[in-house]
């Protein structure tokens, strides 16, 4: 059980490009933490700094209370799984898994015992004599995982380990990872760009953008209470609808042919922003559709495309100003392309953001932790 702590960690390259800026994350013992964000957001760099593959430009990283800034990777008691697996092609799977133990000078019998035990846990006993080139992507992934596990490290580091797998295998392996973590409870740092992986795997999720941590919170809190527009837009499929507009007195939002009145409790927190430009954020499943005749006061939009998804369907709409919205509705909704529909916003679930890509969420209670 290991406690990992990142304090004011920064990474900058020559030319003063800041790849990672002021990252503070306190990872609890046995926690599964997921760093998520678009490519280039600094999540991999952060992980590599923990691994010791990148120098730390400023700040400190502690593993179990010990500053590891200047320790080489092998002395940090970590193991890492790479996106391309990075298995040694000239060694058999057994040799791949045994390599680190061999370098540590463990006895042959001890190595064989450990490798076999680990291979058994993840079901690759039958692959041990093969070379990585003879394995499928999923099998290689397992061997890479086994190579990390066999060392029984204090911290597991995963760098997008599932992104080279096909969709089905990815879901299976994801579940497997979760099971293994539940069993061994090793502190884990997991980097992905896939929000679904982040949501399903993480005890807590760290959303990063442009080198900065945007929010650190359990998955559902991130989903329901995003601190800013970036976090809100990054998580959720289809992504949240954002509408540029103005907040008028009385809590009436208006913009792009869309208007809605915000509930009293939200309004209380918006005081100073009344009369300014804001961005409305509504998730696709928080908009209900109805025939315009039934709701003459509601804003309307035209249905462009319908994507049936089985139990639900996504409708792509255009408002009167030509602005596009996505709505997720039950599959039972009887609508067809070209029709006009009334938009019924669940205003209690709507968010208002300050303008800008990273505009803060104005509708959150002040107690919410906004890190950035």
């Amino acid at each position: 059980m290991t406690h990992v702590s990142l304090k004011k960690v920064e990474k900058f390259y020559a030319g003063a490009v800041k790849a990672v800026e002021d990252v503070n994350i306190d990872i609890q013992k046995g926690e599964f933490i997921v760093l998520v964000g678009p490519s280039g957001c600094g999540k991999s760099t952060t992980l590599r700094m923990v691994a010791g593959l990148e120098d730390i430009s400023a700040g400190t990283i502690e593993i179990n209370g010990k500053v590891v800034n200047d320790l080489p990777p092998k002395d940090r008691d970590i193991a890492m799984v790479f996106q391309n697996y990075a298995l040694y092609p000239h060694m058999t799977c057994f040799e791949n898994m045994a390599f680190a133990l061999k370098l540590k000078g463990e006895s042959k019998a001890e190595i064989a015992k450990k490798v076999k035990a680990t291979a058994d846990t993840i079901g690759i006993l039958h692959l041990l004599e093969r070379k990585p080139g003879q394995l499928s992507g999923g099998q290689r992934q397992r061997v890479a995982l086994g190579r990390a596990m066999v060392r029984q490290p204090a911290v597991f580091l995963f760098d997008e380990p599932l992104s080279n797998l096909d969709a089905r295998l990815r879901v299976e392996t994801r579940a497997e990872l979760k099971r293994l973590h539940a069993k061994f409870a090793t502190t884990t740092i997991y980097v992905t760009h896939d929000q679904e992986e982040a949501m399903t795997l993480g005890d807590r999720v760290v959303v990063m953008s442009m080198g900065k941590v945007q929010q650190v919170a359990p998955p559902l809190e991130i989903f329901h209470r995003p601190v800013n527009r970036f976090v809100a837009g990054f998580l959720g499929t289809p992504p949240m609808n954002f509408v540029q507009g103005k907040l008028a007195a009385g809590g009436l939002f208006e913009g792009e042919g869309v208007f809605l009145r915000l509930p009293e409790e939200t309004l209380g927190r918006l005081g100073e922003h009344v009369g300014t430009s804001v961005v409305l954020g509504v998730r696709p499943d928080h908009i209900d559709l109805a025939p315009p005749v039934a709701h003459p006061d509601a804003p309307t939009a035209r249905v462009d495309i319908i994507e049936p998804l089985g139990s639900t369907m996504d409708l792509y709409l255009t408002t009167s100003t030509g602005y596009r919205l996505v709505v997720r509705a039950p599959a039972t909704l009887d609508r067809s392309a070209g029709e006009q529909v009334a938009l019924l916003f669940r205003s209690a679930r709507a968010h208002l953001f300050e303008p800008g890509v990273h505009g803060a969420n104005l509708t959150l209670e002040q107690t919410a932790v906004a890190v950035a």
Binding site: A51, G52, P72, P73, F82, Y88, H90, A100
Partner: protein, 417 residues
């Protein structure tokens, strides 16, 4: 084969390719055929391709002879019985022999003297007769070679390779003693290996001496180049440090300096070190890497994902262990290309040995072959070609065995073959 238009167009493409390949093979074919020809056939104009041997039958035995020479006019072969030429067989015009006397012409001082001497007719040689000489494979064969005047019909020709050229070429490289044929056992016994102490003057230097010199130099410089270049290339491709690119550029720049420019300075350096006349100038430099090999290996190392090194580092490898245990085993194809190129270079190198080697017992094969060209006045082309064939054979065989690795290595490094 079939009427399939695709097949036909493929044939059309392959036809010129095959023809072109034959054009490139031409020197090799010539080499092999020449090495199997009798000495007299080499360099004939117009050239003859297939090795042909002339022979006559005598008492039911075949006797190989030299190509027939026309006699031209009616002549007689006489045995002179008096005067200076007593006991000699002489061929004179038929008209110059009558009544048991032959008119012999002889150059004496500045004038031509003719005297009539007693002589016995041995054989009359009509003008359609030809002259042939018994054919000896080896110039060391000191048995008297008979000259014969025979009818053209009795000289038969057969296409038959002279495989004996090969043995002869080895034998004739055995210099040092008076032109004396050596048996193979003797040959081996007299071999002086370069790592043994220098033999006394007048010892025998053999084909095997040359061969072992070549192999020793090739082996050492292959090991040297492969190891040192891989080490340098690793530093230039998989370790990040300041000035790396500049140093790589400089390394490449050394490739642009032609060898003739370096010859004199190198000679001075090696002379100052006291290495001239030893094999050291030929292999020691290879332990300091070669720009071409460094370049080739660097390109290969760049193709290996950096995660491999990182995984190894996390597994606990030092930089050297990453190089030795992860990168080198993966670079086998590229390493074999480097090794093969280096081997070929050393094996074929003539200029280096020519400059730095002074003692025949340190000569390499390439230099040793030179002897065929100056020995005994004329060049022994057939023997030179036979030795060249033997010299090329191991390399060609090596290429066939390593072809796959070789091509793989070249294609993965992005080098053209």
């Amino acid at each position: 084969m079939s009427a399939n238009p695709l097949n036909r167009s493929r044939t059309l493409v392959h036809l010129p390719l095959v023809l072109l390949a034959l054009a490139f093979l031409f020197p090799l074919i010539w080499l092999v055929l020449t090495s199997l020809q009798p000495r007299e056939q080499v360099g004939k104009i117009p050239p003859e391709w297939l090795p042909r041997r002339h022979f006559i039958e005598e008492n039911g035995h075949e006797i190989f002879v030299t190509p027939p020479e026309a006699v031209g006019s009616d002549k007689v072969l006489v045995l002179v019985e008096e005067g200076i030429d007593r006991g000699n067989r002489v061929l004179i015009p038929a008209a110059a022999f009558s009544d048991g006397r032959a008119a012999l012409q002889r150059q004496e001082a500045d004038q031509l003297v003719e005297e009539r001497v007693r002589a016995k007719l041995v054989q009359s040689v009509p003008k359609n007769y030809v002259f042939v000489k018994e054919w000896h494979l080896s110039k060391y064969d000191k048995r008297p070679a008979r000259g014969l005047y025979v009818t053209p019909e009795s000289v038969k020709v057969r296409v038959e390779p002279v495989a004996g050229n090969y043995g002869e070429s080895i034998r004739s490289l055995t210099a040092g003693e008076d032109d004396k044929a050596l048996g193979l056992g003797e040959l081996v016994a007299r071999t002086s290996f370069p790592w043994t102490e220098r033999s006394s003057p007048g010892h025998t230097i053999t084909f095997i001496t040359y061969l072992s010199n070549t192999m020793l130099v090739a082996l050492l410089s292959v090991i040297g180049t492969t190891l040192s270049s891989a080490w340098v290339a690793y530093g230039l491709s998989r370790v990040v440090w300041k000035g790396r690119e500049a140093l790589f550029g400089m390394t490449l720049a050394t490739m642009m300096i032609p060898f003739p420019v370096l010859m004199v300075p190198l000679y001075s350096v090696f002379r100052a070190l006291g290495w001239v006349g030893t094999l050291m100038p030929l292999w020691v430099p290879s332990f300091f890497g070669s720009a071409f090999s460094i370049f080739l290996l660097r390109q290969f190392f760049l193709t290996l994902p950096k995660e491999l090194s990182e995984a190894a580092r996390i597994d606990g490898c030092s930089e050297f262990q990453i190089f030795w245990r992860v990168i080198l085993p993966l670079a086998k194809p590229a390493l074999s290309v480097v090794a093969l190129f280096q081997f070929l270079f050393v094996y074929n190198d003539f200029l280096g040995p020519l400059i730095f080697l002074t003692e025949p017992d340190t000569f390499t094969m390439a230099l040793g072959l030179q002897q065929y060209q100056s020995q005994e006045g004329g060049s022994e082309w057939h023997l030179l070609m036979a030795a060249s064939c033997m010299l090329s054979a191991p390399v060609i065989a090596l290429f066939f065995f390593t072809q796959r690795t070789f091509i793989q290595g070249i294609s993965t490094t992005g080098m053209k073959g």
